[in-house]
Symmetry: C2
């Protein structure tokens, strides 16, 4: 990739009945087959998993969180290490988000202005400001293959006036982000517009008019539910250029991914497989299961007989359950590996199905099996669970910042 | 191994200047080169490490804690799974302890009688009794290659009268354990006698008179310090038969192991490398270091330049420190792997040195380097640290049992 073309996107096949695309991203650190799921490496590590294991599972790109890496260990240190790839020893592509989602989620400790956002560190209570220019500078220091524009992720529900205000700010910040980007990194703009069809259309058109390498749909997976999430995709995609990769941020469950791929999405990221793994929830070909359930006590067979991952080839559901009940680190390792492997295989099969023009059939078959075991409600609850865990995490962080505040005032 | 000879011990070489022995244990699930260090797999997992990684590091035998496995998941379930080897998918030898150490450490929740010990589960507060017969039955269900006699590990300090009482009880229990053993498993007796030379000699002679497959020195590493620990070895070893393997329980630091090997010890186990790894303390060729120390912030090189383990080949000290500061699971994984690898290589080099009749030279060279970086006091503090952490763990467990008690009475 030359500095002027840090991303090249090839579309290899389009599924005739759905519009789903099978593609390939060419990036500074390698190629990525799409549709792709990107594991989240929040603080420079995909929780409980090693970089070698990610390679072993076939992952070609991971995500890093600018917000977290900015606070710890800081962009200067990562730049000194030779960038995020060197620092964490991951030699394939990386995408960094802009920190917008985190900054706006921590709503009690911020001040939004036209220039940027002032927030307090949940680590030590210190004040920081993110502006589009600052965020691009941080992402340049991190050195990811793909960087994201700084945007405002509006909450759900959100009244129409605020949704427009946040969208317009996002547009101005997208232009400033683009101007401040490191031209050696691929740059994605982010469409906002909350749950308003006309705002989504307006935002899609505006972001599409910019000289970006790809376009993301943001402001989804914020509690609006599956139906509105897919609506946001449907309101946006028609206005996006076909030749650029499309990234649906923070999504999702296997079912969400299948639906979004059919609507033309190429890229996904989500903490579900890692976070649910750590809490004992495992994806199987017959639905998601809770390993702590008593029915696994004597299951001296893999948790998913259809899976050939490291966990399922070597360890039984009964052993995994025992490890969970004892709060052992190996439990988190095995379950996270299993879940990420499940997602990697799902994406592989989706790509094959698109090439072979049978995505709809594949989806029907996959879901018939996936839903045979557990009702859809259970899968929906996964989303709520994640939301709740996110909230708890943020509340803890806020409370910490609050404690620090009290201490510094005391 | 036939049922009548579940253990065969070959002595391959003896170091002429020290009396250290290089040997080989032949057990039901394979052979073990000695002197050997056995990682502790408390609850059926060596904390933070997978069974595949233990094999990769060259470990041939691991330890399982009867006390913990008895409480969770229980011997019946493990027997149903086909024994501990099958349950945890470890196909090489296993040694299980007798639970004596744990039962006697939890001193506030026990009642010692001539028949056995009544204790309360730290998991749910329920009452249980361990007798020699019960412990042998549990160890038979677990199916380890080597099982240990049920003993009383006297505390330190311990008055002479109680030390004698505990020793005599240990002797009676050793006979009962031997009578109740599963003859398909190798059986080790345990020498006690606290810090009294004559009691140690008496106990060594008594235990040596029994028809055991090996002999362990117990009641050490209980807070008595390095000097008294080595004294206990010196008071005991002269009375032990040369042809049986000798196991120093719960020991120790690299320095302890070197000293004990020179005194004729063949087997060791200790939680130090795993527990210290999880707390950020790493063994290096130049001493033990705390990865959280600010001096590692910008060390973009391995924590130990002389180490070729998975951690040191792939990750820098700066990255490891970052992972620790963020409390990431990968930190515990990398550090534990590194420490266990350090112990595995140390034992390998000890075995080579014995074969080549240069154990003293090796020890001098190793310690000159190992102590070049940090004073011995720091290494000594490792022991105290472990002790403290053990105490904290037990206190937590006791406090939990107390809470349960209060709840059940409330």
């Amino acid at each position: 990739m030359s500095a002027e073309h840090p991303l090249k996107f090839e579309i290899l096949a389009t599924d005739s009945s759905t519009g789903a695309r099978r593609g390939r991203l060419h990036l500074a650190h390698g190629t990525v087959e799409t549709p792709v799921f990107m594991p989240v490496g929040t603080q420079g590590t995909v929780k409980a998993i090693s970089q070698e294991e990610l390679v072993e599972m076939g992952y070609q790109i991971i995500l890093g969180n600018t917000y977290h890496l900015y606070l710890r260990p800081g962009p200067e240190l990562i730049a000194e290490a030779g960038g995020l790839h060197s620092f964490i020893n991951w030699r394939q592509p990386i995408l960094t988000d802009s920190g917008g989602f985190q900054v706006f989620s921590l709503e009690h400790i911020r001040k939004i202005g036209q220039d940027g956002v002032v927030f307090r560190s949940y680590v030590d209570g210190s004040y920081h400001e993110f502006t589009p220019e600052k965020v691009m500078q941080v992402q340049s220091a991190l050195g990811a293959d793909i960087v994201m524009a700084f945007d405002e992720c509006a909450p759900y529900p959100c009244d129409r006036d605020y949704a427009r205000e946040a969208m317009e700010r996002t547009h101005r910040w997208a232009e400033r982000s683009l101007a401040a980007r490191n031209p050696g990194q691929a740059f994605f703009g982010i469409v906002q517009g909350s749950t308003y069809p006309d705002l989504r259309a307006e935002s899609a058109q505006f972001i599409s008019s910019l000289d970006t390498d790809g376009i993301a749909i943001g402001g989804v997976s914020v509690g609006e539910g599956k139906e509105l999430m897919m609506k946001a995709v449907e309101w946006t995609v028609p206005y996006l250029p076909t030749e650029k990769p499309r990234y649906l941020m923070g999504v999702g469950t296997p079912e969400d991914i299948l639906e979004a791929v059919a609507r033309g999405i190429d890229m996904f990221d989500c903490v579900l497989p890692t976070r649910l793994g750590r809490s004992g929830s495992l994806y199987t070909s017959r639905g998601r299961v809770n390993i702590k359930n008593a029915r696994f006590t004597r299951q001296f067979a893999p948790v998913d007989p259809d899976c050939d991952c490291w966990c399922c080839r070597n360890y039984t559901a009964a052993y995994l359950r025992h490890l969970y009940m004892c709060d052992e680190i190996l439990a988190a390792r095995l379950a996270t590996y299993h879940n990420l492997y499940f997602y990697a295989r799902l994406m592989e099969r989706i790509r094959e199905a698109i090439t072979e023009q049978r995505l709809t059939d594949f989806t029907v078959e996959f879901l018939a099996r996936y839903r045979s075991h557990l009702p859809e409600e259970v899968e929906l609850s996964a989303e709520n669970e994640t939301r709740r865990e996110n909230d708890n995490e943020l509340r803890r962080k806020r409370s910490y910042a609050g404690t620090r505040k009290a201490q510094s005032q005391g």
